[in-house]
């Protein structure tokens, strides 16, 4: 069904960013515009999601070019759900930034670039054209480069070099893959590709092409041998920026993998086994990193890597139950990881440091906020009935059924290490007394009440969303059930894009 409202989430952030460019250097105006824009974006995303949920897949042909020839935008359940969650996370980060980002950074255009980034994310989720996906990826990485370097401190720039080099490399791999794919099939439309790829005889060439995509998306989503840029750069920018990056950027890689491997390259045995091996190694190396880090944000960076492994494993098994687990985990992970970095920013505001050795006593001083944070941490660990628990059931069950015992072991190990490091962090940061020789540099107390609310409210919003998907797991399971059906049987997607001619 053709629907012009698909692009709403893209355009709202585009116009928000442009308005903010008009209000250059007027930081108070920019903050208000950002909050309003993100809120409108959330409303539009909710509307898009309900429409897709009730009526089915929506499409939009750019400039009304017929489907395989022009650029097509598609909102199926996966895209619209991710747009919804991204908008929610975007709203939270936008509110947090209005206090959490220094005025100096705002003067150099933090807010416009942030909205360009969210625009790029929404565009990447909604496009149905593989080259257009590449272009959205570039929108995302250029915005993220600017956010990463904004402020220009030495560590930040050093992290940015690593981040930049590997992300450009990933894009080049992705572009190479697209070039070869176009050479083989003569099409760029993903639905059309899924039909034409069946007619290709040269399976070996297809295997190589899919490897290019795997490497490109693997670098983006921080999979085992390709993740080293992540822990060496994510701890450098301000926490609000790290929250956007940690929560959303790696997940675009997972989304792209889900899309490309479900529509175009249906994983064969080799790809599946490769993905499973990568998943196990990603979990183990991520955990090893998390175990030795004492800086909260470095710890969280490694936990991102570790939990990416869970999702890669689900894609590797590529059965209905495994995909349900992956999707549920993806939704949960976006909310929780964004929130974790916001929490790190809040702790930094209250104590002036993120090093566990010099932190302590937060529970005694702020019991209510600590309880809020505890909900998020418990969700991350996966204590039933919170949101991290449900997807793991699906992953465990399917890994047992398919006899991937190494993956089961890695899942257990990953969950255990997550529990251990979070428990250690809780006791170090919240329960332990403040170390005697540490001067607390509290920037939180002197703030006016409105500013304090702006710092805590986003964490509350995201924690409420996490609680919702945890306690309301029944409906989320029904949702991921429908999405995984759409991923495994793509005929509905193809039909929505191409019409009936090709079926």
């Amino acid at each position: 069904m053709i629907d012009n409202h698909i692009l709403g989430p893209v355009f709202i952030h585009l116009f928000t960013a442009i308005l903010q460019l008009v209000a250059w250097r007027k930081t108070a105006t920019q903050r208000v515009i950002s909050a309003i824009g993100s809120f409108l974006g959330l409303l539009v995303a909710i509307r898009l999601f309900t429409k897709v949920y009730t009526t089915g897949i929506l499409t939009l042909n750019a400039s009304n070019w017929e489907a395989p020839f022009g650029i097509v935008f598609v909102a199926d359940l996966l895209s619209s759900t991710l747009v919804l969650i991204t908008s929610l996370a975007g709203l939270a980060v936008s509110l947090f930034s209005s206090t959490g980002i220094s005025r100096q950074r705002m003067l150099y255009g933090y807010f416009p670039i942030f909205h360009f980034l969210v625009m790029g994310l929404n565009g990447a989720f909604l496009t149905g054209d593989i080259f257009n996906l590449y272009v959205w990826f570039e929108v995302i990485i250029i915005s993220s480069f600017v956010l990463m370097t904004l402020g220009g401190r030495k560590t930040q720039l050093e992290g940015a070099v690593k981040y930049m080099a590997l992300n450009i490399l990933a894009s080049t791999f992705f572009l190479t893959g697209i070039g070869i794919l176009y050479g083989i099939t003569g099409s760029l439309n993903m639905a059309d590709l899924s039909q034409k790829i069946k007619l290709v005889n040269n399976q070996f060439l297809l295997g190589i092409t899919s490897t290019f995509f795997l490497i490109g998306f693997g670098i983006k989503s921080a999979v085992f041998p390709l993740y080293y840029w992540l822990p060496s750069s994510y701890h450098t920018p301000p926490s609000a920026v790290a929250a956007t990056f940690g929560g959303l950027l790696t997940k675009v890689g997972i989304y792209a993998m889900l899309r490309v491997f479900s529509l175009i390259f249906i994983p064969d045995d080799f790809t599946r086994n490769l993905l499973m091996v990568l998943a196990v190694l990603t979990i183990i190396t991520g955990c090893m990193g998390a175990l030795i880090k004492l800086n909260i944000r470095r710890l969280f960076s490694y936990l991102i890597v570790c939990h990416i492994g869970f999702m890669i494993g689900g894609i590797g098994m590529f059965t209905k139950v495994a995909l349900m687990g992956t999707l549920f985990y993806l939704f949960h992970d976006i909310l929780v990881k964004t929130n974790m970095f916001l929490i790190a920013g809040l702790i930094r505001h209250k104590r002036g440091t993120m090093d566990m050795k010099s932190l302590g006593g937060l529970y005694a001083q702020y019991p209510k906020t600590s309880l809020l944070i505890a909900i998020v941490l418990f969700s991350l660990v996966g204590i039933p009935p919170l949101s991290g628990f449900w997807p793991k059931i699906f992953l465990f069950k399917e890994a047992f059924t398919l006899e991937y015992y190494a993956f089961v072991a890695a899942l257990v190990f990953g969950s255990f290490v997550t529990l251990f490091v979070i428990a250690r962090m809780w006791s170090e940061v919240f329960w332990k007394d403040v170390p005697a020789n540490v001067d607390i540099e509290d920037k939180f107390e002197p703030l006016p009440l409105a500013r304090k609310i702006l710092l805590v409210l986003p964490i509350g919003i995201l924690a409420a969303a996490t609680l919702f998907i945890g306690l309301n797991a029944e409906e989320i399971v029904q949702l991921v059930d429908r999405i995984s059906d759409q991923l495994l049987d793509t005929s509905a997607y193809v039909q929505a894009v191409l019409g009936n001619q090709n079926l």
Partner: protein, 118 residues
């Protein structure tokens, strides 16, 4: 012509990978540029090279009568060139700033112990 382009692509990719693996920042930059150019030439080659047949339909005919040059790879390359231009411009400025701060061209020197930030 095709063979020439294939060799050129191989050279560009090979040189790009080699340069990226070096420790110097300037060579990293060159490597990124080589790889980007290599990808562009690859798309150009795989789109099929057709000589002197612009994709324009005669007024008399309603559709293409002959093999024609595919315009899509050219559109793709144009987009990719613009994007890689922007990325390279950013990379040059970033590396120049880092060079000014670190005072070294060696990528292994980018290991300042972490400091705290807001």
């Amino acid at each position: 012509m095709e063979l020439l382009l294939i060799i050129l692509i191989g050279l560009l990719y090979g040189a790009g990978v080699y340069m990226i693996l070096r420790r110097s920042m300037v060579k990293l930059l060159l490597g990124i540029m080589f790889l980007g150019t290599g990808a562009n030439v690859l798309i150009f080659l795989l789109g099929g090279i057709t000589k002197g047949k612009p994709p324009v339909i005669d007024e008399a005919a309603k559709m293409f009568q002959d093999v024609y040059a595919d315009p899509i790879p050219q559109a793709l390359i144009l987009t990719a060139i613009v994007i890689s231009f922007a990325l390279t411009a950013f990379a040059i400025v970033l590396l120049k700033r880092v060079y000014a701060l670190v005072d070294s061209d060696d990528l292994d020197d980018l290991n300042t112990p972490e400091e705290e930030d807001i």
